[in-house]
């Protein structure tokens, strides 16, 4: 629900300004308005000026912002670990901190930069890792003699080995050995052993044949193949050790200084937010004035607290809200515990205006209802209730996942209730096992009655949306729009009555008067809503028919459950039958969770909310920690 807001003015002596802002920040319920418009009468504007920070404030802000950027830089070099804050007062030791911070920054930056250089080299060397591991057993198996050279290869196509053997045989006269192995990443590596006088020629020929030699970093150029492999291994071990050492140095620095710098950062945040907020304050010759918004329910309490904390020198006054203020009023949404999980569906919508409605309670009421109407199976409902309760317990700390399963538990409960009404328990299994019969409607066979029922639900939902739109127009005192919306509702009702009378649901005698009413109302509709107003009616009719999806999706669900049971029966074997039915029911449950969720949300976003939600609200952003 949209919280009722109050327009507030806080006045006090100028020397208390920073203490008051600091207090408001600690309380965290006051939204400062940086614009004077709407708060001060035109004639009084000349007496009030924007608070101009003095030289001391400005130099303090520059000094603190510089310090904060350095502290942030220092933390960017340190490992991200949860730290406890030290109970020190940074204000007293701020000059010493600035001095020592410079030295610490140089130290940590140096360690970090060296570590980064080593990390880059390590990642480059490690890219050879799998190839070296594959080469190692090959190198162990060959004799190392002074006149023998080794050539490492990467073979793109493992099948080329035979061709390569024949090629080398031809050019070396059989004075070679070719061994191959497969690396852990699937690459085929080869090792050619050849006498040193033939080595250069073989390398050239391999280049011509487009068989790449194993590449090593340029710094390895002066080494022999065996030395390269050994050096690479040694270097990887050496660099890993160095990186570990740097990590230890940074970690020990963090343990020693981290809590102090964390406290300094918190203090800097608080001080800077007070200094920044002071630029949105106004002043007269003697006083400061803070204009802003807060929840109406908190006004008295904050007034008392200000009075007690500042010995009656600071006064809070609630100002009267004018019509033009409504556009500027910030919006804060607050819902009862039941509706709070449903906020994950409304968070993706733009914030509604202050005069509009919070969509959360509506989605909290209708979403589970539509979900239940679509899935409508007592067995599936029971399973989903158990699953969602287990998941809520398992993911207690992850709010988003826990909220999603809370919604599922409510939706599953509705599914259970509708399952009883439809007489469905894992499809028609309930009927076979314990004679479960439909209490309300047999949706597998009564397709048309179910269609009428869902379209009727659509009529109620769409008309509720249209009526809320009418209520908002009345609240905003836009008469023309209110009349247009009312005529819209009346014409929709007339059209529906006309269609119902054609289908024999209403007496045929009503047909002519209904048409007459539509004809009379149409000019008024055009006058109040313009030439496009009739289009809105056609859209609304389309929206109502769209609710037929509740029946359509429900029908697919019940038919799939029926097929699962039927197939299980056809197997003639109890174990295979249970397995087949279980798999198909599982598939149906998975589809039955996703599909009704998406379609139920669509019915809200497209059919319902477009009738009354007015986007464009300004977010309530209180000054807080």
């Amino acid at each position: 629900m949209i919280v009722r807001m109050s327009k507030v003015e806080i006045v006090g002596p100028r020397d208390l300004l920073k203490r008051v802002i600091s207090f408001l920040r600690d309380v965290g319920i006051f939204h400062i308005e940086p614009d004077i418009v709407g708060f001060v009468e035109k004639r009084d504007e000349k007496h009030i000026e924007l608070f101009l920070p003095d030289k001391d404030d400005l130099s303090e802000r520059i000094f603190l912002e510089d310090l904060k950027s350095k502290v942030e830089e220092l933390f960017s070099y340190l490992p991200a670990v949860h730290l406890k804050s030290r109970f020190i007062e940074p204000r007293v030791i701020i000059d010493s901190i600035k001095e020592i911070l410079q030295r610490h920054l140089l130290l940590c930056r140096g360690i970090y930069q060296k570590r980064e250089v080593f990390k880059k080299e390590l990642s480059e060397l490690c890219s050879h890792g799998p190839l070296l591991d594959a080469l190692e057993p090959l190198l162990k198996g060959v004799k190392k003699m002074p006149d023998i050279d080794f050539i490492g290869l990467v073979l793109k196509d493992p099948g080329i080995k035979q061709q390569l053997g024949e090629f080398l045989m031809w050019h070396t006269g059989g004075k070679f050995e070719l061994l191959t192995s497969t690396a852990s990443d699937g690459t085929t590596v080869g090792l050619i052993t050849v006498s040193k006088d033939l080595s250069a020629r073989v390398k050239n020929l391999l280049g011509e044949k487009d068989i790449p030699e194993m590449k090593f970093p340029p710094s390895f150029n002066n080494l022999t193949f065996i030395e390269k492999v050994r050096f690479l291994k040694d270097r990887i071990a050496e660099i890993s050790g160095e990186i570990e050492l740097f990590d230890m140095q940074l970690e020990s620095f963090l343990i020693k200084w981290g809590p102090i710098y964390k406290r300094v950062r918190e203090w800097l945040d608080k001080r800077l937010s007070v200094l920044k907020a002071a630029t949105s304050v106004f002043e007269t010759r003697m006083c400061f004035i803070i204009y802003g918004w807060m929840a109406s329910g908190d006004v008295n309490n904050l007034g008392k607290q200000l009075n007690e904390n500042f010995e009656g020198k600071v006064i809070l006054k609630e100002l009267g809200i004018k019509e033009e203020d409504i556009e500027r009023m910030p919006v804060m949404l607050k819902n009862p515990a039941y509706f709070q999980p449903f906020e994950i569906f409304t968070r993706i919508l733009p914030l509604p205006r202050y005069t509009s409605y919070d969509p959360t309670p509506f989605i909290g009421i209708f979403f589970p209802l539509f979900f239940g109407m679509m899935l409508g199976d007592a067995g599936y409902g029971l399973l989903l209730i158990i699953l969602s309760l287990l998941m809520i317990k398992r993911f207690q700390k992850n709010r988003n996942i826990s909220d999603a399963f809370k919604i599922l538990s409510v939706a599953a409960l509705y599914s259970f209730i509708f399952g009883i009404l439809y007489g469905e328990f894992f499809g028609n299994l309930g009927h076979g096992l314990f004679g479960l019969r439909p209490l309300f409607i047999d949706r597998q066979h009564a397709v048309i009655p179910m269609l009428y029922f869902t379209v009727t639900v659509g009529v109620v939902h769409v008309l509720l949306g249209s009526f809320l739109g009418f209520a908002i127009a009345c609240r905003r005192k836009i008469k023309k729009e209110a009349i247009c919306r009312l005529i819209n509702i009346m014409i929709i009702l007339c059209i529906l009555s006309f269609v119902a009378s054609l289908f024999g649901l209403f007496p045929a005698l009503l047909t002519k008067p209904i048409v007459l009413v539509i004809i009379i109302l149409t000019p008024f509709l055009l006058f109040t809503g313009g030439l496009l107003a009739p289009l809105e009616i056609i859209k609304s009719i389309g929206n109502i028919v769209s609710y037929a999806r509740i029946m359509a999706i429900g029908l697919t669900s019940v038919l799939l459950a029926f097929v699962a049971n039927r197939l299980a029966g056809m197997t003639g074997d109890i174990i295979i039958g249970v397995a087949v039915a279980g798999l198909l029911h599982l598939l149906n449950i998975i589809i039955g969770v996703f599909s009704p969720t998406i379609h139920s949300l669509r019915l809200h976003y497209v059919e319902f909310f477009t009738k009354f939600i007015e986007p464009g609200g300004k977010k309530f952003e209180p000054l807080k920690k």
Binding site: I448, L451, G542, N543, S546, R602
Partner: protein, 71 residues
């Protein structure tokens, strides 16, 4: 023969509208995915735009049901 024609008419009603919806949603969906990459805050608008053509297949389904059940 009449039964075949009725079934064929119902199939056409749902089939053609389903193809039309699929075509429209594919176009809107790909454009929407591109938009979301640049402006994630428009997700609600994109969902609405993608969902709009679904009405066609629902209408097709209603018409098919009416044809089949002789309403």
């Amino acid at each position: 023969m009449e039964k075949v024609l009725v079934a064929f008419a119902a199939a056409l009603a749902i089939g053609l509208s389903a193809i039309a919806t699929a075509w429209a949603q594919s176009k809107i969906g790909s454009a929407g995915a591109g938009t979301l990459a640049e402006k994630p805050e428009l997700s609600a608008t994109i969902i609405i735009l993608v969902a709009i053509p679904e009405t066609m297949v629902i209408l097709g389904f209603v018409v098919a049901a009416m044809i089949l059940f002789g309403v």
